[in-house]
Protein backbone atom coordinates (compact mmCIF):
# COMPACT_ATOMS: atom_id res chain seq x y z
CA UNK A 1 0.00 0.00 0.00
CA UNK A 2 1.41 3.34 -0.99
CA UNK A 3 1.40 6.48 1.05
CA UNK A 4 -0.73 9.23 -0.43
CA UNK A 5 2.49 10.99 -1.40
CA UNK A 6 3.21 8.64 -4.27
CA UNK A 7 0.21 8.71 -6.57
CA UNK A 8 1.72 7.99 -9.92
CA UNK A 9 -0.03 9.49 -12.91
CA UNK A 10 -0.10 8.74 -16.59
CA UNK A 11 1.93 11.14 -18.66
CA UNK A 12 0.64 10.64 -22.17
CA UNK A 13 -2.75 12.23 -22.11
CA UNK A 14 -4.65 14.48 -24.47
CA UNK A 15 -3.26 17.98 -24.35
CA UNK A 16 0.26 17.08 -23.30
CA UNK A 17 2.90 18.91 -25.29
CA UNK A 18 5.60 16.65 -26.64
CA UNK A 19 8.76 17.17 -28.63
CA UNK A 20 9.05 14.94 -31.66
CA UNK A 21 12.37 13.13 -31.54
CA UNK A 22 12.61 11.26 -34.80
CA UNK A 23 11.34 11.40 -38.32
CA UNK A 24 10.77 14.32 -40.61
CA UNK A 25 9.30 16.42 -37.80
CA UNK A 26 12.17 15.85 -35.39
CA UNK A 27 12.64 18.88 -33.16
CA UNK A 28 9.08 20.09 -33.62
CA UNK A 29 6.65 20.58 -30.81
CA UNK A 30 3.33 18.84 -30.91
CA UNK A 31 0.52 18.07 -28.53
CA UNK A 32 -1.40 14.87 -28.05
CA UNK A 33 -4.91 14.91 -29.44
CA UNK A 34 -5.75 11.31 -28.77
CA UNK A 35 -3.74 8.70 -26.96
CA UNK A 36 -3.71 4.99 -27.75
CA UNK A 37 -1.97 2.81 -25.24
CA UNK A 38 -0.72 -0.54 -26.37
CA UNK A 39 -3.74 -2.75 -26.25
CA UNK A 40 -3.71 -6.23 -24.77
CA UNK A 41 -3.30 -9.16 -27.07
CA UNK A 42 -6.96 -9.76 -27.74
CA UNK A 43 -8.53 -6.34 -27.63
CA UNK A 44 -10.55 -5.70 -30.74
CA UNK A 45 -12.74 -2.84 -29.60
CA UNK A 46 -11.86 0.83 -29.67
CA UNK A 47 -9.69 0.65 -32.75
CA UNK A 48 -12.34 0.04 -35.34
CA UNK A 49 -10.92 -0.14 -38.80
CA UNK A 50 -7.56 -1.52 -39.70
CA UNK A 51 -5.06 0.71 -37.96
CA UNK A 52 -4.01 -1.46 -35.05
CA UNK A 53 -0.52 -0.81 -33.85
CA UNK A 54 1.31 -3.07 -31.51
CA UNK A 55 2.87 -0.20 -29.58
CA UNK A 56 1.65 2.77 -27.59
CA UNK A 57 1.06 5.69 -29.87
CA UNK A 58 -0.76 9.00 -30.08
CA UNK A 59 -2.37 11.17 -32.62
CA UNK A 60 -0.45 14.42 -32.33
CA UNK A 61 -0.89 17.82 -33.86
CA UNK A 62 2.19 19.94 -34.14
CA UNK A 63 3.80 22.91 -35.77
CA UNK A 64 5.71 22.17 -38.95
CA UNK A 65 6.65 25.69 -39.91
CA UNK A 66 6.78 28.06 -36.99
CA UNK A 67 5.53 31.62 -37.26
CA UNK A 68 8.29 34.13 -37.64
CA UNK A 69 9.12 36.97 -35.29
CA UNK A 70 7.45 40.25 -36.01
CA UNK A 71 8.52 43.68 -34.88
CA UNK A 72 6.66 46.88 -34.41
CA UNK A 73 8.31 48.43 -37.43
CA UNK A 74 6.76 45.88 -39.81
CA UNK A 75 3.69 46.81 -41.76
CA UNK A 76 0.42 44.92 -41.42
CA UNK A 77 0.83 42.86 -44.57
CA UNK A 78 4.31 41.83 -43.63
CA UNK A 79 3.29 40.90 -40.13
CA UNK A 80 0.33 38.89 -41.42
CA UNK A 81 2.58 36.87 -43.70
CA UNK A 82 5.06 36.22 -40.95
CA UNK A 83 2.52 34.95 -38.48
CA UNK A 84 1.40 32.12 -40.74
CA UNK A 85 2.10 28.71 -39.34
CA UNK A 86 1.96 25.30 -40.92
CA UNK A 87 0.68 22.53 -38.70
CA UNK A 88 1.04 18.80 -39.07
CA UNK A 89 -0.96 15.82 -37.92
CA UNK A 90 0.78 12.57 -37.28
CA UNK A 91 0.40 9.30 -35.47
CA UNK A 92 3.53 8.90 -33.39
CA UNK A 93 5.04 6.09 -31.41
CA UNK A 94 5.55 7.15 -27.80
CA UNK A 95 9.18 6.09 -28.03
CA UNK A 96 9.76 8.74 -30.66
CA UNK A 97 8.42 11.56 -28.61
CA UNK A 98 9.52 13.35 -25.44
CA UNK A 99 6.78 14.61 -23.14
CA UNK A 100 7.09 18.01 -21.52
CA UNK A 101 5.41 19.66 -18.59
CA UNK A 102 3.37 21.92 -20.87
CA UNK A 103 -0.22 21.35 -21.84
CA UNK A 104 -2.27 22.77 -24.71
CA UNK A 105 -5.95 23.10 -24.13
CA UNK A 106 -7.32 22.72 -27.66
CA UNK A 107 -9.60 20.07 -29.01
CA UNK A 108 -10.48 19.35 -32.57
CA UNK A 109 -13.63 17.75 -33.88
CA UNK A 110 -12.87 14.11 -33.24
CA UNK A 111 -15.01 13.06 -36.19
CA UNK A 112 -12.61 14.78 -38.56
CA UNK A 113 -9.26 14.74 -36.78
CA UNK A 114 -8.77 11.08 -36.06
CA UNK A 115 -6.85 8.06 -37.22
CA UNK A 116 -9.25 7.53 -40.11
CA UNK A 117 -7.97 10.78 -41.60
CA UNK A 118 -4.78 9.05 -42.63
CA UNK A 119 -6.55 6.56 -44.82
CA UNK A 120 -7.12 8.85 -47.78
CA UNK A 121 -5.95 12.22 -48.97
CA UNK A 122 -9.36 13.92 -48.87
CA UNK A 123 -9.90 13.02 -45.24
CA UNK A 124 -6.42 14.23 -44.43
CA UNK A 125 -7.03 17.54 -46.15
CA UNK A 126 -10.23 18.03 -44.17
CA UNK A 127 -8.38 17.32 -40.96
CA UNK A 128 -5.59 19.72 -41.85
CA UNK A 129 -8.14 22.41 -42.57
CA UNK A 130 -9.53 22.04 -39.07
CA UNK A 131 -6.09 21.99 -37.53
CA UNK A 132 -5.28 25.26 -39.24
CA UNK A 133 -7.21 26.90 -36.42
CA UNK A 134 -4.01 26.53 -34.41
CA UNK A 135 -2.96 29.78 -36.01
CA UNK A 136 -5.78 31.55 -34.19
CA UNK A 137 -4.44 30.28 -30.91
CA UNK A 138 -1.05 31.68 -31.72
CA UNK A 139 -2.47 35.05 -32.66
CA UNK A 140 -4.48 35.09 -29.46
CA UNK A 141 -1.22 34.81 -27.59
CA UNK A 142 -1.96 31.49 -25.92
CA UNK A 143 0.60 28.75 -25.26
CA UNK A 144 3.56 30.94 -26.15
CA UNK A 145 6.13 28.23 -25.46
CA UNK A 146 4.42 25.84 -27.80
CA UNK A 147 4.63 28.23 -30.73
CA UNK A 148 8.28 29.07 -30.33
CA UNK A 149 10.81 27.06 -32.22
CA UNK A 150 12.94 24.76 -30.11
CA UNK A 151 16.54 25.84 -30.55
CA UNK A 152 19.08 23.04 -30.77
Amino acid sequence: LLPAAIMVSKIMKAGRVVVVLSGRYAGRKAFIVKNYDKSGSDESSGKSGQDKRNYSHSLVVGVDRYPRKITRSMGKKRAAKKTKLKPFIKIMNHNHVLPTRYVVDTTFDSKVVNKEAFKDAAAKRKAMALVKSLEEKYKAGKNKWFFTKLRF
Binding site: L2, I6, V8, S9, K10, I11, M12, S56, H94, N95
Partner: protein, 112 residues
Protein backbone atom coordinates in the same frame (compact mmCIF):
# COMPACT_ATOMS: atom_id res chain seq x y z
CA UNK B 1 35.47 4.64 9.13
CA UNK B 2 34.09 8.05 9.75
CA UNK B 3 30.54 8.37 10.96
CA UNK B 4 29.34 9.64 7.58
CA UNK B 5 30.87 6.70 5.76
CA UNK B 6 29.41 4.25 8.23
CA UNK B 7 25.97 5.78 7.84
CA UNK B 8 26.07 5.66 4.05
CA UNK B 9 27.33 2.06 4.12
CA UNK B 10 24.41 1.16 6.34
CA UNK B 11 22.00 2.92 3.99
CA UNK B 12 23.48 1.06 1.07
CA UNK B 13 22.99 -2.29 2.76
CA UNK B 14 19.44 -1.29 3.56
CA UNK B 15 18.70 -0.49 -0.05
CA UNK B 16 20.32 -3.69 -1.22
CA UNK B 17 18.25 -5.83 1.10
CA UNK B 18 15.10 -3.96 0.09
CA UNK B 19 15.98 -4.43 -3.56
CA UNK B 20 16.49 -8.14 -3.03
CA UNK B 21 13.07 -8.37 -1.45
CA UNK B 22 11.41 -6.48 -4.30
CA UNK B 23 13.09 -8.68 -6.89
CA UNK B 24 11.70 -11.70 -5.11
CA UNK B 25 8.23 -10.57 -4.16
CA UNK B 26 7.35 -7.63 -6.35
CA UNK B 27 7.28 -6.57 -9.97
CA UNK B 28 10.24 -4.80 -11.44
CA UNK B 29 11.38 -3.81 -14.89
CA UNK B 30 15.02 -3.55 -15.77
CA UNK B 31 16.61 -1.44 -18.45
CA UNK B 32 15.99 1.93 -20.04
CA UNK B 33 13.33 0.92 -22.54
CA UNK B 34 11.03 -0.70 -20.05
CA UNK B 35 11.68 1.95 -17.42
CA UNK B 36 10.56 4.68 -19.80
CA UNK B 37 7.57 2.63 -20.91
CA UNK B 38 6.42 2.09 -17.36
CA UNK B 39 6.94 5.77 -16.57
CA UNK B 40 4.86 6.82 -19.56
CA UNK B 41 2.05 4.52 -18.54
CA UNK B 42 2.19 5.64 -14.95
CA UNK B 43 3.04 2.17 -13.71
CA UNK B 44 6.43 2.91 -12.17
CA UNK B 45 6.27 3.73 -8.48
CA UNK B 46 9.99 4.10 -8.05
CA UNK B 47 12.83 4.50 -10.50
CA UNK B 48 16.35 3.53 -9.54
CA UNK B 49 19.33 4.90 -11.42
CA UNK B 50 22.92 3.72 -11.23
CA UNK B 51 25.56 6.30 -10.47
CA UNK B 52 27.22 6.06 -13.87
CA UNK B 53 24.12 6.57 -15.98
CA UNK B 54 25.00 9.14 -18.63
CA UNK B 55 23.95 12.61 -17.51
CA UNK B 56 21.49 13.15 -20.37
CA UNK B 57 19.79 9.86 -19.72
CA UNK B 58 19.65 10.59 -16.01
CA UNK B 59 18.01 13.94 -16.71
CA UNK B 60 15.41 12.54 -19.08
CA UNK B 61 14.44 9.80 -16.66
CA UNK B 62 14.21 12.32 -13.83
CA UNK B 63 12.03 14.53 -16.01
CA UNK B 64 9.71 11.64 -16.82
CA UNK B 65 9.50 10.82 -13.13
CA UNK B 66 8.70 14.41 -12.33
CA UNK B 67 5.85 14.33 -14.85
CA UNK B 68 4.46 11.07 -13.57
CA UNK B 69 5.16 11.93 -9.93
CA UNK B 70 7.04 8.72 -9.28
CA UNK B 71 10.04 8.55 -7.01
CA UNK B 72 13.65 8.52 -8.16
CA UNK B 73 16.43 6.92 -6.21
CA UNK B 74 20.04 7.45 -7.16
CA UNK B 75 21.65 4.18 -6.27
CA UNK B 76 24.99 4.54 -4.53
CA UNK B 77 26.82 2.28 -6.96
CA UNK B 78 27.43 1.88 -10.64
CA UNK B 79 25.52 -0.24 -13.08
CA UNK B 80 27.56 -3.35 -12.34
CA UNK B 81 26.78 -3.07 -8.66
CA UNK B 82 23.12 -2.40 -9.30
CA UNK B 83 22.98 -5.49 -11.47
CA UNK B 84 24.54 -7.53 -8.70
CA UNK B 85 22.18 -6.06 -6.14
CA UNK B 86 19.28 -7.21 -8.30
CA UNK B 87 20.78 -10.65 -8.49
CA UNK B 88 21.46 -10.43 -12.21
CA UNK B 89 24.53 -11.26 -14.24
CA UNK B 90 24.31 -8.10 -16.30
CA UNK B 91 24.64 -4.36 -15.74
CA UNK B 92 21.61 -2.28 -14.94
CA UNK B 93 21.64 1.48 -15.36
CA UNK B 94 17.97 2.13 -14.84
CA UNK B 95 15.15 0.12 -13.41
CA UNK B 96 11.64 0.74 -12.18
CA UNK B 97 9.64 -0.82 -9.39
CA UNK B 98 6.09 -1.42 -10.53
CA UNK B 99 4.89 -3.29 -7.50
CA UNK B 100 6.86 -3.37 -4.29
CA UNK B 101 5.42 -6.65 -3.10
CA UNK B 102 6.46 -7.22 0.49
CA UNK B 103 9.16 -4.59 0.40
CA UNK B 104 8.86 -1.08 1.75
CA UNK B 105 11.41 0.30 -0.68
CA UNK B 106 8.98 2.79 -2.21
CA UNK B 107 7.98 4.21 1.16
CA UNK B 108 11.49 4.34 2.50
CA UNK B 109 13.02 6.07 -0.49
CA UNK B 110 10.15 8.54 -0.50
CA UNK B 111 10.96 9.49 3.08
CA UNK B 112 14.63 10.07 2.37
Amino acid sequence: MTAAKKASKKQQENINSRLALVMKSGKVVLGLRQTLKSLRQGKAKLVILASNTPALRKSTIEYYSMLSKSGVHHYGGNNIELGTACGRHFKICSMAVLDAGDSDIVRETAKA
